[in-house]
C-alpha cells in the first residue's frame, strides 16, 4: 500500500467514525421532531395540560437558574481565585450531583425535604412544601444542574486575569467593588453561557423531579406519563415540543460562541 493510499484510508476511517457518531446523536432526535413536531406545535394552541407543563418547566428552570446564579457566582469566584479553604474538596462536593443517578438524587432530596423529615415538615408548616409542589420541581432542577453552572462560572472567572482586580484596588476599589466593576463585567459572557447550560439541563430533567414531584407535571414528566398511559403516539407531540424548547438555549449558546470568536479575532 502506498503512503497516499494509506493516508486516504485513514482519512476515510476517521470521517466514517465521525459520521456514525453523528448519526447516532442526530437520527433519534430528528425522527422525534419529524414524527411529532408538527402535531406538537398544533397541540400547543389547544392542549391546556401541555401549555401548563411547558410554562411550569420554563418557570421552574428559570427560578432554579436565578437562585444558583445568586448563590453560585460567589462560590465560583472563591474557587476560581483559590480563596476558599479546602477549595479542591469543595469543588469535588459541588460536582457530586453530576455523578449521582438522577432518581437517586431525587431520593436523597426526599430524605432531607420529604414530608416526614424535620426540614420538610418545617417548610410545609411555613407554606413551603417541597414534595408534590412547584418548589420541589425547582429544588430537583437546582440540585442536578447547579454543578454545571458553578463549574462553568468558575472557569469563566478564572479566565479573567486577577491583576485587573489588583489595579482596581490600587485605584481605590474595595475587593467587592473591584469584582463588581471589573471581574464580573469581564466574565459576564461566560457566566451567561453557564446560566444557559444550567437552564437547558434543568428543562430536560426528569429522574429527580419524578421522585419528588410527579404532579404538577413538567413537560418531561408529562411526556413520560402520556407514553405509559396512552402509548408512543400520544407521547410524541409533547416530546417533540420539549426538544424544540431545548433548541432555544442551544442556539443562544452557539450565537454567544460565534460572538466571542468575532471579538477575540478583532485587531
Amino acid at each position: 500500500m502506498t503512503r497516499g493510499t494509506a493516508h486516504r484510508a485513514a482519512a476515510m476511517s476517521v470521517m466514517g467514525g465521525a459520521l456514525i457518531l453523528l448519526a447516532l446523536l442526530v437520527l433519534p432526535v430528528a425522527a422525534l421532531v419529524w414524527r411529532g413536531g408538527a402535531e406538537g406545535v398544533r397541540q400547543l394552541g389547544s392542549d391546556g395540560e401541555l401549555q401548563h407543563a411547558l410554562l411550569l418547566t420554563a418557570a421552574a428552570a428559570t427560578s432554579a437558574t436565578l437562585v444558583v446564579m445568586l448563590l453560585g457566582t460567589p462560590l465560583a469566584y472563591l474557587l476560581a481565585r483559590n480563596r476558599m479553604p479546602g477549595g479542591s474538596i469543595v469543588a469535588a462536593l459541588v460536582e457530586l450531583p453530576l455523578i449521582i443517578p438522577h432518581p437517586v438524587a431525587g431520593i436523597a432530596l426526599l430524605l432531607v425535604f420529604g414530608r416526614g423529615t424535620p426540614m420538610g415538615a418545617a417548610l410545609a408548616r411555613a407554606g413551603l412544601g417541597i414534595v408534590g409542589s412547584p418548589l420541589g420541581i425547582g429544588l430537583a432542577m437546582l440540585f442536578v444542574s447547579a454543578p454545571l453552572y458553578v463549574s462553568a462560572a468558575r472557569e469563566a472567572i478564572a479566565r479573567v486575569e486577577p491583576r485587573y482586580e489588583d489595579v482596581a484596588r490600587t485605584l481605590g476599589d474595595t475587593p467587592w467593588r473591584a469584582v463588581r466593576r471589573v471581574t464580573l463585567p469581564l466574565a459576564k459572557r461566560g457566566l451567561f453561557a453557564a446560566a444557559v447550560v444550567m437552564w437547558a439541563r434543568s428543562v430536560s430533567e426528569f429522574g429527580a423531579i419524578v421522585i419528588l414531584t410527579y404532579n404538577p407535571k413538567v413537560a418531561s414528566v408529562l411526556s413520560y406519563d402520556r407514553f405509559t398511559a396512552f402509548g408512543l403516539d400520544a407521547a410524541l407531540p409533547v416530546a417533540a415540543v420539549l426538544v424544540l424548547l431545548a433548541l432555544v438555549p442551544l442556539l443562544v449558546l452557539r450565537s454567544l460562541r460565534s460572538e466571542a470568536r468575532a471579538t477575540t479575532s478583532a485587531p
Binding site: 489595579v167 482596581a168 484596588r169 490600587t170 485605584l171 481605590g172 471589573v182 469581564l186
Partner: protein, 349 residues
C-alpha cells in the same frame, strides 16, 4: 517616602526575601535586576496587592504593612498596562472615583486625549502603556510605582513621556519607584538605584556609583561591565591615612593593581571599557599602575565609538575608544598595542 524593612513576600513559588530599601520623599528610585529577580513583586508588595509574610512596609512615614491597597494612595503602572478591556480609554483614565478633576489635565499633558474614544482592544502596546500611566496619575498619587512603563513606546513618545513624568514628579513632589532595564534611563532619572537578584537586594546606591563600583561581579555583569575578572585579591600595607588600600589582583590570566576596600581572598576586578587607554607603544612614564601589552583581537564599531578587544595571553581586555582613535592608531586585528588602566579605575569587589 517608601521604606521596606526586612520584607519577605511570596508570589507563587517565588519569594522576595529580607528586603530593606528606603526611598526618600520626592526621590526617583530605580529598580534594576535580571528577569525573575522580584522587581514586579517588590512594587506589588509596596502597593499592597501582595501580602508580606515578614517585615514592615512604611509609606509617608506611616506603617502600612497591613493596610489594604485601596487605602495606600499608591499609583502602579504594570508593564502590560492591564487596561480594563470593557471600558473606553476615557473611562479607564477616569476609573478612580477621585480622578475626575485631573483626568483632562493628565490626559492632555501625556497626549492621551486623542485616544479617548478608541476601544482598548484597538490600542497599540505603546498606547496602552501611555493610557495606563495616565490612569495611575489621574487620582494624583504622591507615590508612583512604574514597571517598565516606557518599554513598548516608540522613541518619540518615550522621550515625551519621560520628560512629562519628570516635570510632574518635580511639580507634585512625587516619590517614584521605577523598574527598568534601560541603563540610560536609570542614569538619567534615578536619584537612587536598587539592584535585585533572586529576590534579594544586593546593592543600593546612586546610579553613578552603581555603574562605577558594583558590589558584586553579578551586578557588574548585569550592568554590562566590559571587563570582569575572577581571581585572588591581596591587600598591600594600608597607608593609615585613608580607608582605601592598594589591592593586588591576580586571576583569569591577568595581574592588576587597584585601589579600594577588600578583605583579601577570592574576589573580582571590574574595569569599564571607557577607562582603558590604548597606545601603539609604551609612552613616557605615566601614573597608570597597570600597563599591559597585547594584540588587537577584534574591533567592533558602534557608531562614533568602537569596542576593541585586546588579547593578552590567556586574558582579554575590552577598551571602548572613539572611531577617530581607531583610525589614528590604525587599530585592526593583529596590531600590537599597550593598554593602560589607572589603579583607581580598577574596582575590586
Amino acid at each position: 517616602m517608601i521604606a521596606l524593612d526586612g520584607v519577605t513576600a511570596h508570589s507563587g513559588d517565588f519569594a522576595l526575601r529580607d528586603v530593606s530599601v528606603a526611598i526618600a520623599a520626592g526621590e526617583w528610585g530605580i529598580v534594576l535586576g535580571p528577569a525573575g529577580s522580584g522587581k514586579t513583586t517588590l512594587l506589588e508588595t509596596i502597593a499592597g496587592v501582595r501580602r508580606t509574610s515578614a517585615g514592615r512596609v512604611r509609606l509617608r512615614g506611616q506603617d502600612v504593612t497591613t493596610l489594604a491597597p485601596e487605602l495606600r494612595r499608591v499609583g502602579i503602572v504594570y508593564q502590560h498596562g492591564y487596561l480594563f478591556p470593557h471600558l473606553s480609554v476615557e473611562e479607564n483614565v477616569g476609573y478612580a472615583a477621585d480622578a475626575r478633576a485631573h483626568v483632562r489635565e493628565v490626559s492632555e499633558r501625556l497626549g492621551v486625549d486623542p485616544l479617548f474614544d478608541r476601544p482598548v482592544a484597538s490600542l497599540s502596546g505603546g498606547e496602552r502603556q501611555l493610557v495606563a500611566v495616565a490612569r495611575a496619575l489621574a487620582p494624583a498619587p504622591d507615590i508612583l510605582l512604574l514597571d517598565e512603563p516606557f518599554a513598548a513606546l516608540d522613541p518619540r513618545r518615550r522621550v515625551r513621556l519621560r520628560v512629562e513624568l519628570q516635570r510632574m514628579h518635580r511639580e507634585r513632589g512625587m516619590t517614584v519607584l521605577h523598574v527598568t532595564h534601560d541603563f540610560t534611563e536609570a542614569g538619567t532619572l534615578g536619584d537612587i538605584a536598587v539592584v535585585l537578584e533572586a529576590g534579594r537586594v544586593i546593592q543600593v546606591a546612586a546610579p553613578s556609583v552603581l555603574f562605577r563600583k558594583p558590589a558584586t561581579a553579578a551586578v557588574a555583569d548585569f550592568l554590562g561591565a566590559d571587563n570582569v575578572f575572577a581571581g585572588q585579591v591581596t591587600r598591600s600595607a594600608a597607608s593609615g591615612m585613608s580607608e582605601l588600600d592598594t589591592l593586588l589582583f591576580e586571576g583569569d590570566g591577568i595581574r592588576l593593581t587597584g585601589v579600594g576596600t577588600h578583605g583579601g581572598g577570592q574576589g573580582h576586578a571590574v574595569i569599564r571599557g571607557e577607562d582603558v587607554v590604548l597606545a601603539r607603544q609604551h609612552s613616557m612614564p605615566s601614573s597608570a599602575r597597570n600597563v599591559l601589552e597585547g594584540t588587537v583581537a577584534e574591533v567592533a564599531p558602534q557608531g562614533v565609538l568602537a569596542r576593541v578587544t585586546v588579547a593578552m595571553g590567556a586574558a582579554t581586555l575590552v577598551a571602548v575608544v572613539t572611531d577617530a582613535s581607531v583610525r589614528e592608531l590604525g587599530l585592526a586585528r593583529g596590531v600590537a598595542v599597550v593598554a593602560s588602566v589607572k589603579a583607581t579605575a580598577v574596582h575590586v569587589c
